[in-house]
């Protein structure tokens, strides 16, 4: 397939076009993803997550700079929220990354969530796969600004970096649930601000309270991304975590879990879409919904009936 061949040869425009098709749910995208799939699986995926304004974009920019110094090619997927009112979005993460825009070994793609919850866009996984197939050795995923519950990135990334900042009051409390459990590495960014040490200590204390399962022990790092401080140490820590995973064959395990989730999601979506399509085609959808709304029929029975009618 022409598109796939171009992408594997490193054609940026072809890869970018496919990413758009994926985001738009175009049917041609499936064919391309099928043929690209055997070429995926070698990229190392790093998630950068944390509350809004914690400096994720600047940190991503600095990490990219350091990774390039270490001769790694880099893909960046930066996710910003879609307005729930207009469906539009301003994707502004690139502002902080513009110095890499002329580097042929850095591919930056901005994505809007398009209503998907969880901190990523629905198509993020597939976009990461395209970057992987296009030969990017390290892929950074910058999530939307997250609160306590948007932890989807952990299902995609090999190493998950959770970014916090001092002076957000109970921010550390806020990231305790959910987000604290997904971090492989914790960063207190803007560490030149007052309270940085206290924030770092609080994080460390909470991490020590977690039961020691003999696994990876997350550490807390302090950075000032705007000044490039602490970045070398952070990248070292990421590679330490990578080595930890590889020594124990855990990267493969994570990959398998990701494949399972991706497969199940795809199966659910495809099944739902095909069922609804078939059901709509035979024209009884509207009538059925009326009956449910009028309490003549309950939705559980309705679903069973629909599935039975198509032989499932």
């Amino acid at each position: 397939m022409e598109l796939t061949r171009k992408i594997l040869e490193g054609d940026v425009r072809a890869a970018a076009r496919l990413m758009t098709m994926i985001e738009n749910g175009a049917s041609e995208a499936r064919a391309a993803l099928k043929s690209l799939y055997p070429h995926t699986g070698s990229g190392y995926i790093i998630g950068i997550t944390g509350p809004p304004g914690s400096g994720k974009s600047t940190l991503t920019d600095e990490l990219t700079d350091e990774l390039r110094k270490r001769r790694k090619t880099v893909g960046i997927v930066a996710v910003d929220p879609t307005s729930p009112f207009t469906g539009g979005a301003i994707l502004a993460d690139r502002i902080r990354m513009q110095r890499h825009s002329l580097d042929a070994d850095v591919f930056i793609r901005s994505m809007a969530t398009r209503g998907h919850l969880g901190g990523l866009a629905r198509a993020t996984n597939d976009i990461v796969d395209v970057m992987d197939a296009a030969g990017k050795e390290v892929i950074l995923i910058e999530t939307v600004g997250v609160g306590q519950d948007e932890v989807e990135v952990v299902g995609t990334a090999h190493t998950c970096v959770v970014v916090s900042v001092p002076g957000l009051g109970d921010e550390v409390q806020a990231i305790k649930a959910g987000i604290l459990e997904i971090g492989d590495i914790f960063v207190v960014n803007k560490a030149d601000r007052e309270g940085a040490n206290r924030t770092a200590t609080e994080l460390e204390m909470m991490l020590h309270m977690a039961p020691d399962t003999g696994g990876w022990l997350p550490k807390v790092y302090k950075t000032v991304a705007t000044k490039g401080k602490g970045i070398v140490e952070l990248v070292d820590a990421i590679f330490e975590h990578k080595a930890f995973l590889d020594e124990r064959d855990l990267r493969k395990k994570k990959g398998r879990e990701r494949s399972e989730r991706a497969f199940l999601t795809l199966l659910q979506e495809t099944l739902a879409a095909r069922t609804i399509e078939r059901f709509k085609r035979n024209g009884s959808m509207k009538e059925l919904i009326e009956r449910i709304a009028d309490r003549e029929l309950d939705p559980y029975t309705a679903v069973e009936e629909v599935l039975e009618s198509i032989g499932l």
């Binding site: 970018a16 990413m19 758009t20």
Partner: protein, 137 residues
């Protein structure tokens, strides 16, 4: 990925040149978002090379260039030239700023699809993008 098709117009709003007046660019970025588009905003002091590269990576349908420095006669055509070199001149490029009438014709001859001068409304720009971007994914 889903099977339902949801096509969004993606627009890059960029400020080439050295002037620091990005209010117009921000107003247009916001207006486009409110019109349901995905706006990639790259900020100040972009070179034409940076703009073309970002536009291709982001696979945008249109690029809006805002320039108030007076250097539009170099910067705008240069963006077009770079897009052409990379086979991406199907991207619609439009410009805005304090641009004298006599320059507008020359810019259009260079491939800039529209030029919005002070007094033009955001609604006109939105309408222009909606009617002129490529329709196929």
């Amino acid at each position: 990925m889903t099977t339902q098709v949801e096509q969004k117009i993606r627009v890059l709003i960029a400020k080439p040149g050295l002037d620091g007046h990005d209010r117009g660019a921000k107003v247009i970025a916001r207006a486009f978002r409110d019109a349901g588009m995905e706006v990639i905003y790259t900020g100040l002091r972009q070179t034409p090379e940076m703009i073309a590269s970002a536009a291709i990576q982001e696979d945008v349908d249109a690029i809006g260039l805002s320039c108030l420095s007076g250097a539009h006669m170099y910067l705008f055509p240069r963006v077009m030239e770079l897009l052409r070199e990379r086979g991406a001149d199907d991207i619609v490029v439009f410009g805005g700023g304090t641009i004298p009438d006599e320059d507008i014709q020359k810019l259009k001859a260079a491939g800039i699809a529209a030029v919005f001068t002070p007094g033009a409304t955001t609604g006109e720009a939105i309408e222009f993008v909606r009617t002129n971007v490529r329709k196929t994914v």
